[in-house]
Symmetry: C2
Subunit: 307 residues, 2 copies
């Protein structure tokens, strides 16, 4: 738990709750875009959560799904794709950059959740390297990255492909000099094992959502992570993670207290509703991952807390 300076940026404390921008700040700006990250930083939130996959030509890019989301992606003619878009792993970077990810289709069930989100034209899926380079801007000396590795179900049993995926991301982070400001984050705790071997200088963050997480750990013959009492914080600690990132619905004050005893940092996601924000503060989490940084700031301020 020591020797990871980047953890300090995510650790809460008395009167201190960290704010992490979810895919930038999805409530306000198109998710996982440079424009959205720029806004998040402008909002005084310097901890960025985002998702990484690889293009066919092996470039780590920042987008949430293995397939482009038809409700958030337009073609060259400016029309939303609708339904499931192409698989990123089957597109070159150049082909990927033919799509516009500058906003959601509010006629879709997904887009309807984000009717106030800004709608831009000509926005491209960012390269991971371009996002990391923001860390060199002297205005953003506090910028840290919560980098989610999207585990590809198609490659679940291909150990070499999984190692190559991790290696490409780790190489990019090191190349841009941001290893000391990056945490590797995944629902796939076994992939985080690969990360720990490939990049011992970067902490790992175990995402969880119940009951899927425990089911997945058990079903995959992965019961090595499942301890007798099945407490998620204990499982994260046993797995070798430094952060536990539970779904907001799974957080209780007791589990947070246990995580603290295990010296884990707890970041809850995705914490958007006022009641959830308040409940997470009361539960004592280190930080919250939110689409609405302004809303969370006001709830914290009302309690005299900083972020």
């Amino acid at each position: 738990m020591t020797g990871f300076p980047q953890l300090d940026a995510f650790r809460g404390g008395p009167g201190l709750v960290r704010l992490v921008g979810h895919r930038g700040a999805r409530g306000v700006m198109p998710e996982n875009t440079m424009e959205g990250f720029a806004f998040t930083l402008l909002a005084g939130v310097s901890l960025l959560e985002f998702d990484v996959v690889l293009t066919r030509d092996g470039v780590p890019v920042v987008t949430h799904n293995h397939h482009l989301d038809g409700a958030a992606t337009r073609d060259a003619a400016g029309n939303w794709l609708m339904g499931q878009g192409p698989r990123v792993a089957e597109l070159t970077l150049n082909e990927l950059h033919g799509y516009d990810v500058g906003g959601v289709d509010v006629r879709s069930s997904y887009g309807r959740q984000f009717c106030d989100q800004v709608l831009l034209d000509g926005v491209r899926v960012p390269c991971l390297g371009d996002l990391l380079d923001l860390g060199h801007d002297p205005r953003f000396a506090d910028l840290h990255f919560l980098l989610e590795l999207k585990s590809d179900p198609a490659l679940r049993d291909d150990a070499r492909a999984r190692e190559a995926f991790v290696a490409a991301i780790v190489a990019k982070v090191r190349d841009r000099g941001m290893a000391g400001r990056t945490i590797l984050h995944s629902f796939d705790w076994h992939l985080l094992d690969v990360c720990r071997r490939a990049a011992p200088e970067m902490p790992t963050s175990c995402l969880s959502q119940m009951p899927e997480t425990v089911d997945a750990l058990c079903a995959g013959g992965l019961s090595g992570f499942v301890s007798q009492d099945c407490s998620l914080p204990r499982m994260v600690a046993d797995a070798g993670g430094q952060l536990w990132c539970p779904n907001v619905e799974d957080v209780t004050p007791e589990l947070v207290a246990e995580a603290r005893r295990l010296d884990l940092i707890v970041l809850a996601w995705t914490v958007n509703e006022t009641g959830d924000i308040d409940r997470m503060i009361e539960a004592g989490v280190d930080g919250i991952v939110t689409d609405y940084p302004g809303r969370a700031q006001h709830r914290l301020r009302l309690r005299g807390a900083r972020w």
Copy 2:
């Protein structure tokens, strides 16, 4: 109506409705701040509405009221002022910059309207010159200014003070080379007379809100503006304005059509609710002044309109 190139940026047309950011984008960012204007530009909205008054030492600054608003202003200790704050005209710029305008107190009736607005620390009331200088940034070549002059009731009968107020603002706009991208905007139509004399190169925009506007025009012995049928567009045209900026509640398709016949540009304010946005589009306004640019963009896009 000719000879004012800056009008083109505000003129709508078939499938084109202009978006004007209200005090930046008050729904998202602290109003009338450089941070808020930066966000508005990031959101693809390059028409900025804002308010100007003078400090005691004669510096034009960007803030809405003659008095600092206690619900949106904190003292050096970080506490909101509550109630009415000091009069800007009685503060030097240096004294004014002792206050923090980085967000609202959501416990107040004013702040409660903007619970999602970002909350920042250490934000200062901008100088008009700094805002105008954004126009020199090559990224913001489309940036135009809808500059509201806040008429001071305490100086209503002091013609020299009113002329000095206008002169200070006009001098700043010219000094920064932005006269060709600025429109002078006020509820005080007589002050706009002063503007037209002082700055014939800048169009003027008559704000209205019924019934206060006609009452004020008549009560002040200002019935010269009030034509027989009392139609607001006709009054604006007679007064010499190029834009009519009605409160959203006062807009009808008939009045918009009349304004068009008079070659006036119509910008409605403050258009935040979805139903109002739709109604303004249907009424055929040239543009809408909004606190929520993202929301308005989606409503326009659903109708295939640009902005």
